[in-house]
């Protein structure tokens, strides 16, 4: 039966088989996952990244990013005129709406009211992108970013920030730089870069850091710094350095894709297409 979206539905009492054991279901049956490895040294590899822009032709700008198994799609509609006269502002209003698809996690998420986590992530994406976008060039308008998480395998906020940024660039809105973000986890004294939920590290990190950067300036500008969990203060500098290096590498990949997307477009289809980004 379709869910009644006008009412607050009763709490859902189903649970996923993942609670019964850490397993993977393959064509050949159930395969137990390997025991989580004990973290000894640092693990500093980014998962394979796939970025593409212009994936939703109807939107003003769009992008999809796949980091390992984490898949996030972003679309931007704007700059659009504000309908109400009371909303007059000399800067554009940037709003961001992130949603998890119901099938994105291990447990099914019922569709309905936005959860607190989604609101928190939406506002973090908005705060991360505001310093980079030249909002004062678009008075009396609003730019809406919609992000949908298709699969959550760790590092969702970082993927969402990067995808949202690529979508805004694809839209032609003027920006200072492409913002890229990465995640790192701290296990004791070891740093694991870009961890995945389904990987071999278990999901018992001491702390998780998401860092978003504008790498073009020297030193780079940090636009988002979110650390959940406990860590030693001495580790903070190291983790920031690790994430910064990863962001710089990611920036090159993302920059190439975004530039290629721009050059493929017709000159007439986008009014701001003559303002190519210089890195």
């Amino acid at each position: 039966m379709p869910i009644d979206t006008k009412r607050n539905n009763a709490p859902v009492e189903t649970f996923s088989y993942h609670l019964l054991g850490d397993i993977n279901i393959t064509e050949n049956g159930i395969k137990p996952k390997d025991e989580p490895n004990l973290i000894t040294g640092n693990s500093l590899c980014l998962r394979p990244v796939y970025v593409n822009v212009g994936v939703i032709p109807q939107a003003n700008g769009s992008a999809i990013i796949e980091i390992g198994e984490t898949k996030v799609v972003a679309a931007v509609y704007g700059p659009r005129e504000s309908a109400r006269v009371e909303d007059y502002q000399t800067r554009a209003k940037l709003t961001c709406d992130l949603r998890y698809a119901p099938f994105s996690g291990r447990q099914h998420k019922p569709f309905g009211v936005r959860s607190d986590e989604e609101r928190d992530l939406s506002s973090q994406i908005q705060h991360s992108l505001s310093p980079a976008i030249l909002l004062n060039k678009y008075p009396k308008s609003h730019i809406d970013i919609y992000v949908n998480v298709l699969q959550d395998d760790g590092g969702v906020l970082a993927a969402a920030i990067t995808a949202a940024n690529c979508a805004v660039v694809d839209c032609g809105v003027e920006m200072l730089d492409v913002v890229v973000a990465t995640t790192a986890e701290i296990h004791g004294a070891s740093i694991v870069l870009d961890p995945s939920l389904s990987g071999n590290f278990g999901d018992r990190a001491d702390a998780t850091l998401t860092l978003a950067l504008m790498p073009s300036t020297e030193p780079p500008q940090i636009t988002c710094y979110a650390l959940d969990g406990g860590c030693d203060v001495t580790m903070i500098g190291d983790v920031i350095d690790v994430c910064t290096e990863a962001c710089v590498a990611l920036h090159k990949v993302v920059g190439d894709v975004v530039r290629a997307g721009y050059l493929k477009q017709d000159i007439g289809s986008n009014t701001n297409s003559d303002q190519l980004m210089e890195t």
Binding site: H127, A207, P219, P220, I222, T223, L227, V233, I236, I240
Partner: protein, 274 residues
């Protein structure tokens, strides 16, 4: 905070504050890293497990009350208790908060509290009977007046209320037919939470080139960016968020972290001695 209350300020007023801060002077005569006088009252609501009232200077006032109830645990964590936070930005503080007006600010504050506490507290101490009953602490905050630095004030109130919070010891017996019988422990004792695990929040604001603690509402509007730091008395740093629409250099971030750490540990020390 993402949705600021409408404190109106002209550009000239903002410049005045920024130039003052650059010279180490603030409007009310404090140093950049000084708190306003903090008044703490505990045990104001006798029917609650723990309660407190905090007044920060003459400007920000917050009540916090903790009530404990027994509940079945979540399926994924059968031997962990829970905490649920709720911040009520009441219309007493600002008429714009009437009805659902204060919901956005309230949600953001709850999210900071929840994320920090869920990483600090050992919730296994709140388990009564594994898989059957655990303690659920409802931590409710009522904001009566807002004069800047609301998050720090709320965190002080929550800390004060939780440190005083007395949870009665109960025993659960299951008879032969499987019926559960919950009784207060015959020893009539209570358990207290471990204060050393509980975090305190400090918001470090960057105004112009200086770092400022405990900002008034006017100073908050002039901040380029803010770093929220949560540290507990064991020195464990449990939560960081960079807020605001500005970006910072990595060195600035590290400076803000170290200032936050210093100030927060001083705050813990003062609270322990009070």
């Amino acid at each position: 905070m993402s949705s600021q209350m409408t404190t109106l300020m002209s550009e000239a007023e903002k410049l005045y504050i920024l130039h003052g801060v650059d010279s180490g002077l603030r409007n009310d005569g404090r140093e950049c890293l000084d708190y306003r006088p903090i008044f703490i009252e505990r045990g104001i609501i006798s029917s609650a497990a723990g309660s407190s009232r905090i007044r920060l200077g003459d400007a920000t006032e917050v009540y916090c009350v903790v009530k404990t109830e027994l509940t079945p645990p979540e399926q994924s964590t059968p031997n962990s208790g829970r905490m649920e936070f709720f911040v009520d930005c009441s219309a007493l503080a600002n008429p714009e908060f009437q009805g659902r007006g204060g919901e956005d600010i309230s949600r953001e504050l709850c999210s900071h509290l929840y994320n920090a506490y869920s990483k600090c507290i050992d919730f296994n101490t709140l388990c009564v009977s594994e898989g059957r009953y655990v303690w659920l602490l409802y931590v409710d905050v009522v904001v009566v007046e807002i004069g800047g630095n609301l998050l720090d004030c709320i965190s002080l109130a929550v800390f004060a209320a939780l440190s005083q919070c007395a949870i009665p010891n109960v025993t659960i017996t299951i008879d032969t037919e499987g019926f559960e019988d919950i009784q207060l422990d015959s020893t009539n004792t209570v358990q207290y939470l471990n204060c050393n695990e509980m975090p305190l929040f400090t918001t470090v604001n960057k105004l112009s080139q200086q770092y400022v603690i405990d900002t008034t509402s006017e100073e908050e509007l002039c901040a380029i960016s803010r770093l929220v730091v949560a540290i507990n008395n064991n020195g464990k740093m449990c939560y960081f968020r960079l807020l605001g629409d500005g970006s910072v250099r990595p060195q600035t971030l590290l400076d803000m972290v170290s200032i936050g750490q210093t100030v927060c540990s001083q705050l813990h020390e003062k609270l322990q001695n009070s």
